[in-house]
Symmetry: C2
Subunit: 245 residues, 2 copies
Amino acid sequence: MLTDEEKTGVSTFVPDSYLMDFRGRITVSTISMYLLQTASEHAANHGFGYSDMTKQHTTWVLSRLAVEVNDYPGISGPISVYTWVDEINRLFTSRCFEWKDQTGKTLGFARSIWAAIDLQTRKPTTLDQTTISHYLCNRSCPIDKPGKIVPAEQHDAGMPYQLKYSDLDINGHFNSIKYIEHMLDLFDLKLFSEKEIRRFEIEYKAEGMYGMELMLHKHQVTEDKYALSICHEGKVLSRAAVTWQ
Amino acid sequence: MLTDEEKTGVSTFVPDSYLMDFRGRITVSTISMYLLQTASEHAANHGFGYSDMTKQHTTWVLSRLAVEVNDYPGISGPISVYTWVDEINRLFTSRCFEWKDQTGKTLGFARSIWAAIDLQTRKPTTLDQTTISHYLCNRSCPIDKPGKIVPAEQHDAGMPYQLKYSDLDINGHFNSIKYIEHMLDLFDLKLFSEKEIRRFEIEYKAEGMYGMELMLHKHQVTEDKYALSICHEGKVLSRAAVTWQ
């Protein structure tokens, strides 16, 4: 029987100045990239990574990601990202994250929900729970689970955007990190100067392909809360909710 | 007196799957990011990095970068980037690069030209040659120096693009790497499926700022050679030349 510490994975990143935003701080999209890389490594190390899934003609797809940031570091040494699996059921598994600076100070927490899809049909398949169940962990992740997101596309006409080469991931689909980058680009620079994103939550609903004509929507829900969405011909590819502080 | 080996800097990178393109290969923009990070580290380690320049109220600006790629690795272990200074004069310094896979095989070479500008006036200033001269190195860089680039904007009407939050660097200017990303996005995906970029060469002529309405131009010079440029209100911010094979 493994301890919670043994079940937890950790990867370390040194954010370079070329990845910092105009404030000299790490961005939500870079943090999210570190989280997904840490998840990949943890799963691969324990027999349920992408290459293990491929052998069963399936792959992981990220369904939801909720990121809460306490502090955005500047250029200040390595960041350690911890990840652990906290739930699994027939179709989904939930994975949590905590990241810390080099002094051991917690910079944020995140929750993610993953499904397995068949590589040919791209439809959800049932998860093989036996391997993953060994790694279910009780470590605390003190942030809200991903919830319902206001449909921004019902309130905003949208900005057109056509999917490009640099938007594609290794499978030729819209890269999960690039969704986040394009969504955050809908905010005015002034907001980034005056406030910080405290919580960013995204739901991935459909796959984007090269050349697709997208509409990017932003809707202000309350003073500090915004809903975002990315649609293609009226179909929602992704929705997100952002809380500023 | 230092040996050429002692004068050469090396940084190591592990390209993650989230940075790979749809072919599962590293991109020209990711390679370029690694080159610039390696240059920063080498300069900082020898007393002429960004923070040393700031003390003299100056900063480095990248003027030209020419990258020649023999091989684009997939996910296959760390890449080591070597860098050395090969020339310095009153206003410019030239820095070369070679990068290798973990077996020691050379994947490509690059040349870059840097100027120092005054932090307030943003005008070129003379370089302090004494420190840098100690690191002038005779290591071979068997690729052509950056040359004259065909002005694409004189042959192509252009695609509009407005500069966004994610395009900005730590100084609030258009990020050198994002110029490359936007330029390569002008090529059709089919070209990336059929050919490889053998040489990418870029000249940075003026700084881009948030919200600027840019025009992105592409002009086919010969079957495998293209000229690209980014302009703002008729002024050229950057020009590039791409050779496919």
